[in-house]
Every structure is written in structure tokens, then in C-alpha cells.
């Protein structure tokens, strides 16, 4: 196994991690601040992917499509919050799970009615569609490099928003102690709507960027949602920093596990046994990791401080 390959796989892991982070950031904020279990977060990812594809076809430009899909998904998120979720904050988690599961079914059917059940085509501009030379003899897809850049840029922006602005201060305060924040005169209802819209927009961005590499079809959100829940459990619920670390850890563990676990096992046990055990173990790896984190640090790696 050459170093170029290890480098390439590390980049793959980073790219997957960045994608997971965009999803996890919104989910962990909604969970941490609003105390809402939102299973429908994956639906917003799907809505983002479909809107980006539709806008791109309408405008003829992929970048414009993604740019338009962002505010559109934000509006969808706000509408969902105002219409459906507002009444659920005071209810217990089981009611929230039921209601947001209902939203998943609603969105999947709505998308199937509008766009049909078959996967739809999403284009990439030719500049991004190809690959560039990472090292001599190691080409890397340009589009994946683009995802890493966008993801890192968004993470930095989000970091500034959360640590450097008044809104960010309220978000952090909300994650620490909701009751006190409203007692201090902050319009919590508005804050909730904003946070949910922000989370929706981030999920929409992840979906829009996923369009050209994944199949854009109804139910695509559920496929990624499970990994995102693993990320926020590992990172600590309600913490952006935790979501960041968790996403990179899960992205790396999953990618490197799939790439190198089998050859590494083959040096310890017999190759036929490694052939059987390798793929099985690689697909379990992130869950084993989550179980270990839950055992040693039940609150996650970076829990939001003093949640009540």
C-alpha cells in the first residue's frame, strides 16, 4: 500500500466527513437548542438536492442552481418549523419522533408526485466534472475537491457565526440553558425558527452538493441520516465543535476502514477469512466507535456545557 493511496483515501475520508458535518451541524443545533428530535432532517437534504437539480435545469447553471436551492430550502425549513414543529417542543421525544417520521413519509411522497419515483439527472459543469492530478499518477475528482473546499469554508463561516456574533452567542446560550435565555428577554420563538432554518439550509447545501455524485431519488435522505445521528452522538449533542470532530472521525473511520481493513486483516488472519470478515467489520466500524464513545464518554466527545 503506497503513501499516495493513503493520502488519496485520507482526502476521501475528509470529503465524506465534510458532507456529514453539513448535515450534523443543523441536526445537533436543533436537538441541543430546541430539544427536538428531528428525523425529517434527511428530507430537507433531499429537498435541497431536488431543488438544486430543478433550478440548475431551469437556469442552465449548476452553481446558480445550488445558490438558489439554499434560500429555497431555508424557506422550506422555516415553513416546516412554523406549520408542523412548533407545537411539538413541549411534547416528549416519542411524539416528536412520530411526527417527524410522518414528515419523512410526507416529503418522500410529495417528491414522488412532483418528480416521479425514478432517480433524476443532475449535471455538473465540465470544469468540475473531470479530475486533476493530485500527485504524479494519482488523479483526483475535481468535484470532490470542490466539496472539501466549500465544506471547509462553510465550517469557518459557521464557526465565526457561532463564536463571534450576537446571534451565535444566543445560540450557544440556548444550547446551555433555554429557560434562562427566555427569562433574559430573548425572543426564543424567533431564535428557534432561525436556527431551524439555518439547519435546513445547511442540509440543503449538503443535498445540493450530493446531487452529482449520489442518486437523487425519493428516500435519499434516510440513507445518510443514520450516519449523521452517529456523528452527533459521538460529537456530543448540541455542540458544533463536537459535530465537526465527530463528522471527521466518522468520515475517516468509515473510508479508511473500507479501504484498508481487509488488507490489514489479511496480514493477521488467513486471506479467505479476511475476505469474509473485512467488509463486515468495515461496515460495523462506525457503530463500534459509537458504542465505545458511549461507554467511555456517554455525553459525547465535546458536549455542550451544562445542558438542563
Amino acid at each position: 500500500m503506497s503513501w499516495a493511496l493513503v493520502l488519496e483515501q485520507t482526502l476521501n475520508g475528509l470529503q465524506y466527513g465534510v458532507m456529514l458535518f453539513l448535515m450534523a451541524a443543523g441536526l445537533t443545533l436543533v436537538f441541543g437548542i430546541m430539544n427536538l428530535v428531528n428525523l425529517a432532517h434527511g428530507s430537507l437534504y433531499m429537498v435541497g438536492a431536488y431543488l438544486a437539480a430543478a433550478f440548475a435545469e431551469w437556469s442552465g447553471s449548476f452553481v446558480l442552481g445550488v445558490a438558489l436551492a439554499l434560500p429555497a430550502t431555508l424557506l422550506v425549513g422555516i415553513a416546516v418549523e412554523v406549520i408542523a414543529l412548533r407545537t411539538l417542543y413541549e411534547r416528549d421525544h416519542l411524539d416528536q419522533v412520530l411526527a417527524t417520521f410522518g414528515l419523512i413519509l410526507f416529503f418522500n411522497e410529495l417528491i414522488a408526485i412532483v418528480w416521479g419515483r425514478a432517480a433524476i439527472y443532475t449535471s455538473v459543469p465540465p470544469i468540475l466534472g473531470g479530475h486533476f492530478r493530485l500527485l504524479p499518477g494519482v488523479p483526483y475528482p475535481t468535484y470532490r475537491a470542490g466539496i472539501i473546499l466549500v465544506g471547509v469554508a462553510v465550517s469557518v463561516l459557521l464557526w465565526c457565526l457561532v463564536t463571534r456574533t450576537r446571534l451565535g452567542m444566543r445560540i450557544r446560550a440556548g444550547a446551555s440553558n433555554r429557560t434562562m435565555v427566555s427569562a433574559l428577554g430573548v425572543n426564543v420563538r424567533l431564535l428557534y425558527t432561525l436556527v431551524f432554518g439555518l439547519g435546513a439550509a445547511l442540509a440543503g447545501l449538503a443535498g445540493a452538493m450530493a446531487g452529482p455524485i449520489y442518486a437523487v431519488q425519493p428516500g435519499m435522505g434516510e440513507a445518510i441520516l443514520i450516519q449523521v445521528f452517529v456523528v452527533i452522538v459521538i460529537g456530543g449533542i448540541g455542540s458544533i465543535r463536537g459535530a465537526m470532530v465527530g463528522a471527521i472521525v466518522v468520515g475517516m473511520a468509515d473510508t479508511l476502514g473500507r479501504a484498508f481493513l481487509k488488507p490489514m486483516l489479511a496480514t493477521v488472519i488467513s486471506p479467505p477469512a479476511a475476505d469474509k470478515a473485512g467488509p463486515a467489520l468495515a461496515s460495523m466500524l462506525i457503530y463500534l466507535l459509537m458504542a465505545a464513545v458511549l461507554f467511555f464518554r456517554p455525553e459525547g466527545l465535546f458536549p455542550a456545557r451544562s445542558r438542563s
Partner: protein, 390 residues
């Protein structure tokens, strides 16, 4: 008044007894997947059943027909419940459809065990072709192994070597690679099994490139195929390492993949460009009615209705004559979209398999095109295990 009604009723009954066929309705239960991402396949199958009924004037062998559709949600238990409901509540004469092998293994024994016909129109698990074969079971599709066998044969004929094989890590994935290796005897450098439903293949594609094989063989049905093809093309491997596949590119996924599939090789028993009258009519009318290209799942389902029609016609509408219908179906005496074919002793088709390639026509459409015949009248590998004799 009452006597009059009674007299009328008696008269009606007499009429019924005198002309049993005239008033009888043949009932067909059609099980497929109509919800979720895989619902796209079920939609094609249902549309093809409706088209077949249109072509037959909404009558099967002269009888009125009623089709009850059921959505199995890709779950064997739901499929079995649907079959039970169709048998007991609707008292169907035929059950048809079924996309998934695991659903088929739950449905087929339930239906045939109740003495009702099961006409499969997609799944062909090896159990039903071998030890579990049944005289009430027919299929208009294929046995699962046949298609990868054809690809193995073609790649062996081309004398390709150093082949990298990939499939999802579940029963059908392993069967596909086993079927492939039954006819491909040159070197397979690696067999890689990925998670079922996996979205991202970049890690595996990087490993693949590092292994530098001469050719790649994959089985990635549904959304997995769309993802794999897009990522394979973006990694710059399209045009560098030739890609061969089964059940990965079809008329459902092609509009979603377009350029990323260009040059892709597949093997299959049917293609929209197959030149025979029945197929041309099916493809043209399907496109006219539903505005899209039909897919092999649909062609098989269309054939299923035609096969049932031929059976009822042969017994002149006497649905109690099951022996007669079995004998009729064994002759495959109808205009199939694949052209003429025959049935093996296990009621699986003996049929041709072709090599297909994804091409772009001058008007910009992407389509699968037949390149050559790989197998003529190919039999499945399990018929010898089937105890049925005829």
C-alpha cells in the same frame, strides 16, 4: 312480485349454468413494489400489465379480467401477507409479479401450496429453479445466474484477464459473482463486496485504481448503480478501464446517469431495440401511452399477462382445468417481446442472451443497444436438480 323475482333469479342461474364462461371473471393478483425509491420499477411493471390488457381488449382468453395490485414494500413478510389476502379474500386464479428474490421465496410456496398459479415476472432465485421447483410455478424472466453467466462467457471469449469484481454484500451479490465465474475462467484479481445500499464508492474506486486491473465487472442494481457509475466517471476511469456490468444500467437509470454510462457493457435477455413484431409494438405503444422507454421488468410483466392469456385460451376459459393450463404454458405459445422461446423442465425459460452497450443516438437520447448474441437458447444451471418430469 316475489315469485317474479324468484323466477327471474332461477332464469339467471340457469343462464349462468348454461354458459359458465360468459359470466366468469379471471382474477389476477399482481405483487410488486409501488412505494419508496424502488417504486419506479413497480410503476413500469404495473403500466406494462395495463398495456398488455389494452392490447388484449381487456379480456384474457375471452374472460373478463380483474387485476388486484399489491405493494410488497421490498419486504418478504408483506409479500406473503399480500399473497394470503389475494388467495383468501379475492380468490385469485393467478398471482403474478414479484421483483425481489427474497420476497419471491416467501410468496411462491404460499401461492403454489394453495393450488394457485404463480407467474413470476422478475425474481429467479436458484431454489425455485432447482429443488423447490413446482408445476404451478412459471416465470417469464430468467434464473438469476443466467445474466452474469452470459457476461462471464463474453469476457472469457474476449480473453480478458485481471478482472476486478464488485458487488453489494448480500445473497444476490454473491450469486452474481458465482454465476460470472461459472463461465469466466481467467484471473480475477479481487472480489470486493460493499455494503448493501452504500452511497459512496470513492474509497473502493481509489483501491481499484491502485490495483490497476484490465477490466471491471460489477453488479449494482438501482440507486447503487447510479452512484457507482457517476463516481467511476468522475474519477476518470471511464475510458481507461472498461466496465462490464449486469442489472446496473437499464432504461430506468439511464436518464439519471446519461454521459456517465456511455460505453457501458451489459448482458440481458431483452432490449427495447430487439427486432420482432411483438416487441416493436410493445415499445412503441408503451412510449406513446406513458411517454418513456420501457424497461425489461416491464417487458417480462407484459409477457406474463400474455402467457396467462394463452393458457386460458387453450382450455377455452375453463379455469378449473389446471392440467390443461400447465400443458399450454409449457408450450410458451404466445408472441413474447423477446421473440420465441421454450420452457425448461423447471418452468424457467430457455432463451437468448445478448451483449448490450450504452450509446447516444444522433438526437441526443441515451439508449442500450444490442451488439451481439452471447448465448443462444441458454439453459439455467439448476434444472437438473428439479424433480419435475414432463
Amino acid at each position: 312480485m316475489r315469485t317474479k323475482t324468484r323466477a327471474a333469479l332461477v332464469g339467471l342461474l340457469a343462464a349462468l349454468v348454461a354458459f359458465p364462461a360468459a359470466a366468469e371473471t379471471v382474477k389476477i393478483g399482481f405483487i410488486t413494489t409501488l412505494s419508496g425509491p424502488q417504486g419506479a420499477i413497480g410503476e413500469h411493471m404495473k403500466n406494462s400489465v395495463e398495456l398488455a390488457l389494452d392490447h388484449l381488449g381487456r379480456k384474457l382468453g375471452g374472460l373478463d379480467v380483474e387485476v388486484i395490485y399489491g405493494d410488497d414494500q421490498v419486504k418478504p413478510d408483506v409479500g406473503k401477507q399480500l399473497a394470503d389476502e389475494m388467495l383468501k379474500k379475492h380468490k385469485v386464479h393467478f398471482v403474478s409479479g414479484v421483483i425481489w428474490s427474497n420476497v419471491m421465496l416467501a410468496v411462491a410456496p404460499t401461492v403454489t401450496g394453495a393450488g394457485t398459479f404463480m407467474i413470476g415476472t422478475n425474481a429467479g432465485p436458484h431454489e425455485l429453479a432447482g429443488k423447490m421447483c413446482h408445476e404451478m410455478f412459471f416465470t417469464t424472466s430468467w434464473q438469476n445466474d443466467q445474466t452474469p453467466e452470459a457476461m462471464g462467457k463474453y469476457m472469457q471469449d474476449q480473453n480478458l484477464t485481471d478482472v476486478y469484481a464488485m458487488a453489494p454484500n448480500y445473497a444476490a451479490g454473491k450469486d452474481m459473482i458465482a454465476g460470472f465465474k461459472r463461465y469466466f475462467k481467467n484471473k480475477v484479481v479481487a472480489e470486493v463486496y460493499t455494503q448493501l445500499g452504500q452511497q459512496d464508492y470513492q474509497a473502493e474506486i481509489s483501491q481499484l485504481r491502485a490495483a490497476n486491473p484490465k477490466a471491471v465487472f460489477v453488479f449494482y442494481p438501482g440507486g447503487m448503480g447510479i452512484q457507482f457509475l457517476k463516481q467511476y466517471a468522475q474519477a476518470g476511469l471511464r475510458g481507461q478501464i472498461p466496465l462490464y456490468s449486469v442489472y446496473t444500467v437499464d432504461e430506468i437509470s439511464l436518464p439519471a446517469v446519461k454521459e456517465a454510462a456511455l460505453g457501458q457493457f451489459e448482458t440481458r435477455y431483452w432490449s427495447p431495440d430487439l427486432k420482432n413484431d411483438a416487441n416493436q409494438k410493445y415499445v412503441a405503444d408503451f412510449r406513446k401511452k406513458y411517454g418513456k422507454m420501457p424497461v425489461f421488468y416491464g417487458a417480462q410483466s407484459y409477457d406474463g399477462i400474455l402467457l396467462i392469456d394463452s393458457a386460458i385460451r387453450a382450455v377455452k376459459g375453463d379455469l378449473t382445468n389446471k392440467k390443461g393450463m400447465i400443458a399450454a404454458m409449457r408450450r410458451a405459445d404466445y408472441k413474447s417481446t423477446r421473440g420465441p422461446y421454450s420452457y425448461n423442465t423447471n418452468h424457467f425459460p430457455i432463451e437468448n442472451f445478448y451483449l448490450l452497450k450504452a450509446v447516444q443516438s444522433p438526437d441526443g437520447d441515451f439508449a442500450m443497444q444490442i451488439q451481439r448474441t452471447v448465448f443462444e437458447s441458454h439453459k439455467d444451471a439448476y434444472a437438473a436438480e428439479c424433480p419435475m418430469k414432463w
